[in-house]
Symmetry: C2
Subunit: 335 residues, 2 copies
């Protein structure tokens, strides 16, 4: 009897690839190949929330709370730590370097003189420094954007697969706030839901857990960090550990909605208790961002992982083969 | 037997006012009083989509598709037409003047020289012009932001009420994409909905139609324009006319999701058929925005309305008194 496809496979069959998919994958491929030749480390950072459309001609959608603060700040610290960065982010969410200007009045920074337009004296230092940092890092930074859950998952899979060429030099930092629920395309109304129809009942399906094929199939040699965002403190450590036990990746960073800028707990499978990172009031006052400490910590862990990784240089492709219902064997083919 | 409160009243009882509400209302009040003294016209423009939280500690929410393109462009044309503008917009949606820089790489416009930071030669004309326009209009523009449906409705009501001092000099241009459905606070779970609970069923209530009290009670003398966005062309004109018949305001602007940048249909109660505004390909190529034509058209209609308005200068407050189940009498009290 033929075995049923796993639910993640069915998801990709039912949800078509996004616009500009092939162009984006080509950009990722070129970026990774060049990094691999130079033996550079590459961090894939996912950032921002995904949307789940409620209509095929989308007027309404369900969104996850995420401005992209964590992801965009982390991208800067990974770049400063010597990584090249693929920044897979929600369109219009915060971006590295540009984030410092969001909500600022740019017209107040500009001075219109009779014969020229310039940057006002008191903004020159800040704008100059940001512009320089961005210019210095721009060729180390590949920006790819998504809107919907389905766009995101297509791009995540393809990016992880293209990063296989980097072997253990690849790091995946999954900071995007990905929806747990969605409405399958086949169950979506074509046009805008009319309010004259009265109260609305929505039935949402569970999104297949993509971390399973990501860890075993799409990125079997990468160092993988996922996030767990909760609002209820009592659930945080348990849920972080559960996730690690279930998916066998490397680090889960637990954080709470209301304290996420000053507190995180890093859980791995080697230590019985979480490693906490906490900003003091004086850290916060002096402008230190928790992401600087998170990335410092992860870089050390990635060093260790890289040193321990026994597969050597990966020059072939990696294949996955499903055995039984839950178990995967990863085969590395070196041509 | 005591009569039941109308549903909009219950909504305000059940949903508390947003943060900084009183400060914002004070800003609106001062702005309107100063405009009224100068007999200036004031346009309230609502812009962007509202969110409907699914949890009290909000991680997930339902959103309406709207970047604020229509509202932010319209604000500029109202300002250029001599209006003062209250721009009630979704936080982080597009804003007048600033919208032209969204998605642009500001660091590429800046030149870092050895002893100064300036604007690059080829961006000086554009940035200088925008900065000048913004500087010239900044005291005619009051920006107030919202996130949730409830924030929006609280601010809409209070702003409309404070604009009463302007009588028929006030214009309301309701371009925000307001949710038709919401989850009452009492039915919302406190914490993040767990995916381990399996598929998710949501039950959403209808949002009370606020256009009814807005037209009759909160802004009885203002010139009021609402929008109807549809994805299905066959419904557009019927639904626009229905809205006008139901609420007795002045203009409904019908538009379709996929052609909204080049086509709108203005419906009023005096003409049997809609007045269409359409951009030609050459209009689009030469950078003309449809909002410039919409605002030109509305200004003429508002002139007419103002000339016909018989109440004279409103110096008192307006009270509403419910009679029967559906009918309202508006009493203008001149002290």
């Amino acid at each position: 009897m033929a075995q049923e496809d796993p639910s993640w496979k069915i998801f990709f069959e039912e949800n078509p690839k996004p616009a500009h998919f092939d162009e984006n994958v080509k950009l990722v491929q070129d970026f990774c190949q060049q990094a691999a030749m130079k033996k550079n480390r590459v961090a894939l950072i996912t950032s921002g929330g995904t949307t789940v459309p409620l209509e095929q001609n989308t007027v309404r959608f369900i969104d996850n709370f995420s401005a992209g603060t964590r992801g965009s700040a982390s991208a800067e610290y990974f770049l400063e730590a010597g990584y090249q960065v693929i920044f897979l982010h929600r369109s219009k969410s915060l971006e590295p370097y540009f984030r410092h200007l969001v909500g600022r009045n740019i017209f107040d920074m500009i001075e219109v003189l009779p014969d020229s337009v310039t940057v006002g004296k008191k903004h020159q230092a800040e704008l100059g420094k940001l512009a320089e940092k961005f210019q210095r890092q721009r060729c180390n930074l590949l920006m790819i954007s998504f809107n919907t859950l389905s766009d995101y998952l297509w791009l995540l899979r393809a990016t992880a697969q293209k990063m296989q060429i980097l072997g253990p030099l690849a790091l995946l930092y999954l900071a995007a706030a990905v929806s747990d629920f969605y409405i399958p395309a086949s169950q979506m109304p074509c046009h805008k839901i009319q309010s004259s129809g009265g109260p609305l009942s929505l039935s949402l399906q569970l999104v297949p857990k993509m971390l399973a094929p990501l860890v075993t199939l799409w990125a079997p040699n990468a160092f993988i960090i996922s996030f767990k965002l909760e609002t209820n403190e009592t659930l945080l450590e348990t849920k972080s550990k559960e996730s690690l036990l279930k998916y066998h990746h490397h680090v889960v960073i637990g954080n709470l909605l209301h304290s996420r800028k000053v507190y995180v707990a890093l859980v791995d499978s080697n230590s019985p208790s979480a490693e906490e990172i906490r900003l003091s009031n004086s850290d916060v006052e002096s402008g230190i961002e928790i992401e600087s400490k998170i990335i410092e910590n992860l870089k050390t862990r990635h060093d260790q992982y890289y040193a321990n990784h026994k597969t050597g240089t990966i020059t072939g492709t990696v294949l996955g083969k499903q055995v039984g219902a839950e178990k995967w064997i990863v085969v590395t083919v070196v041509p």
